[in-house]
């Protein structure tokens, strides 16, 4: 891993308007927005796997989609190497697309049921005009199918998704993202729909295939998977990044109270390690027009006065360990 950044995210925001009923839109001037991603800045280094961990609804999927501009941000910039992709025109963006790909969460929904494996995996090659003929396409598809262990490729190429198991489908999704050798891949919960017994196979493949891509953004709600899969982990809560550090550091020396609570709550497959402690109170607040204070204030057991008045910034506390908390130092 080099320290050079492949992706630089600066002050990225995405607000979704909330639709109101007819009467309330007449009587109230206040506009409501879901602050899905709220002023987020970070870098993804060359050849790095960055884990983005958070509970459902914290904005991690939205952030992933913003990074490859599948949706438009409200404000902010994303630099791919030196190019600000938010300033690109439609056609310029299209020529950037082969450099950035996405693996979706649900292999039961992300694969077109009417297309064969050959067409599914070959589609990105055709769209980006990377192959000249049908036989060339078949050759490239066969090669990547070998890589994702769908062997012999000839046996799988002409199958439809319904003829594949969940694990095989997700391998097709991985092959589809990696077949054009992108520099950057967003993997949005790539294993959460699979049984734990088959997850490891997909994760191992993604590690082995690092030669075909440079960097991953690995979105997950499972800290235990991120801890082993990722070089660095960012913890997201209600649209903000709360803590970010090397995965060893964040697990061994968590600083933010939310990170601590997440680690505590993560179940351990070991009956002798049972714990009942939960250092958190209440439930996740609504992301609609959150007040200007620490997002975690209402659930934090150690909150101080300042936490209710000022939103903490993400600051480096040494060694690249970043944290957004008034309690530190």
């Amino acid at each position: 891993m080099t320290d050079e950044a492949l992706i630089r995210v600066r002050n990225l925001r995405k607000l979704f308007p909330v639709r109101k009923g007819f009467l309330s839109s007449i009587f109230s001037r206040e506009s409501l927005h879901i602050h899905a991603v709220d002023n987020v800045s970070f870098d993804i280094k060359q050849d790095e796997v960055l884990g983005l961990v958070g509970e459902s609804g914290c904005g991690k999927t939205t952030l992933g989609r913003l990074l490859i501009r599948l949706i438009e941000p409200t404000s902010g910039d994303v630099f791919f190497r030196d190019i600000n992709i938010m300033e690109l025109s439609r056609s310029e963006m299209q020529s950037m697309r082969p450099k950035m790909q996405i693996i979706f969460q649900d292999p039961y929904e992300s694969l077109n049921p009417r297309m064969t494996v050959l067409d599914l995996v070959g589609e990105p090659l055709e769209i980006n005009a990377l192959v000249g003929s049908e036989s060339e396409k078949e050759e490239s598809v066969a090669e990547i199918l070998e890589h994702v262990r769908m062997t012999p490729p000839g046996e799988f190429m002409f199958r439809y998704p319904h003829e594949l198991s969940g694990g095989q489908r997700q391998r097709v999704a991985v092959a589809r993202a990696l077949v054009i050798h992108p520099d950057f891949v967003v993997a949005d919960e790539p294993v959460s729909m699979l049984d734990t017994s088959t997850r490891g196979e997909i994760l191992n493949l993604m590690i082995e295939l690092r030669g075909l891509t440079r960097s991953y953004l690995f979105i997950t709600h499972e800290l235990a998977v991120a801890r082993h899969f990722c070089d660095r982990i960012a913890i997201m809560y209600l649209g903000r990044i709360m803590e970010m550090a090397r995965s060893d550091d964040i697990i061994r020396r968590p600083i933010h109270p939310y990170t601590k609570a997440l680690i505590e709550a993560t179940p351990v497959p070991d009956p002798s390690a049972r714990k009942e402690k939960v250092s958190i109170k209440g439930e996740v607040l609504s992301p609609i027009n959150p007040p200007r204070r620490c997002r975690f204030y209402t659930r934090c057991l150690a909150a101080k006065d300042i936490c209710s008045k000022l939103e903490p910034e993400l600051v480096d506390i040494g060694g690249g360990h970043m944290v957004a908390c008034h309690l530190y130092p």
Binding site: A224, V225, T266, P271
Partner: protein, 327 residues
């Protein structure tokens, strides 16, 4: 000696579909000691939910009970007719927390009314009284009783699951089946729910059956663990014995595939069980796990595994070549 509150023997449930007969539960022996919490683990499609539904005779119309007996507190409850079963067993003795609380609650009724409904179906009492019990139940599961007057969509995921628990407790059952009680919930909510289940079990002296694919949830909640594969129980034992001394290769695989957040070193390699669970329309001959088993022999391919063999007082396995244990 502790008494068994539930004893199931040779339970078989087959689904008759256009493609053929799906043997979802195929000869399951199962029991629950009074006051204990028993886990049922397995991958999706292994028959664990079907097993839970069969205990309450709530199978879908194409699911048939082919054989088996269920004794509850020493009484053969499968011998009861449907009316008696509904009046005396279902919900009064055995209840279930259904999987997917999002879909299990009726969106057009207030939560307290839904809980009261299940009480009124079983007890003769004024509706007002039932509502009061419903509110007490909500309080018991840490929901503000005032919320009872609200509709399910006004509840968060964790609260809906709590409401489902309250509903399962409505008639003071002895045994509660929790089918994937924390699946699709975030870890913090999951932790709170597990603490709640543990507390209720103690307070109300419940016995629990917890069905889950998530072996770490079962590790936290259960005293005993059954491992189910392709319609059969392949290993059963005390929770510590299963985790420390698993004998079946499937059990071992299931446990080792689960990453732990506390590992000192970062692993760059993940464990997995190769292949996929078999199609129960046409399960493999011999041991059903043999196509995925690292230790399969000719015997495993041809001969069905021996019946459950005893390893210790509370540990049984059905395998031709158990791991590290000499007969």
């Amino acid at each position: 000696m502790r008494v068994n509150v539930l004893e199931v023997s040779d339970l078989r449930v087959y689904y008759h579909t256009v493609k053929g007969v799906v043997k979802a539960v195929d000869g399951v022996e199962f029991f629950v000691e009074e006051g204990s919490s028993v886990g049922l683990a397995g991958e999706s499609g292994c028959g664990k939910t079907t097993f839970g539904l069969a205990l309450l005779k709530l199978l879908p119309s194409n699911g048939k009970l082919e054989s088996g007996s269920v004794y509850f507190n020493g009484r053969d409850v499968y011998a009861l007719d449907e009316k008696e079963f509904r009046e005396k067993v279902r919900w009064k003795q055995i209840s279930i927390i259904f999987q997917g609380s999002m879909n299990a609650l009726n969106p057009v009724f207030k939560v307290e009314n839904q809980i009261a409904e299940s009480i009124l179906l079983h007890e003769k009492m004024p509706a007002k009284e039932a509502i009061q019990i419903a509110r007490d139940l909500l309080k018991k599961v840490d929901i503000d009783p005032v919320m009872g007057r609200h509709y399910p969509h006004e509840f968060s995921g964790g609260m809906r699951q709590r409401a489902m628990i309250a509903m399962a407790l409505a008639c003071n059952p002895k045994l509660v089946i929790a089918d994937e009680p924390t699946t699709a919930l975030d870890v913090i909510v999951q932790k709170q729910l597990m603490n709640l289940l543990r507390r209720l079990k103690k307070e109300m002296n419940l016995s629990l059956i917890v069905i889950s694919h998530d072996i770490s949830v079962l590790a936290e909640l259960c005293d005993y663990l059954n491992i189910m594969y392709a319609g059969r129980i392949v290993e059963w034992g005390g929770i510590n014995e299963i985790f420390e001394n698993s004998q079946h290769y499937y059990t071992h695989g299931l446990i080792s595939t689960f990453p732990t957040v506390y590992d000192e070193q970062r692993k760059q390699k993940f464990e997995f069980i190769p292949g996929a669970p078999p199609n129960l329309l046409d399960p493999p001959l011999g041991c059903r796990f043999h196509p995925r088993c690292p230790a399969a022999t000719e015997e495993c391919r041809k001969e069905p595994p021996p019946p459950m063999e005893q390893i210790s007082r509370t540990h049984f396995v059905a395998c031709h070549h158990p791991r590290g244990w000499e007969r």
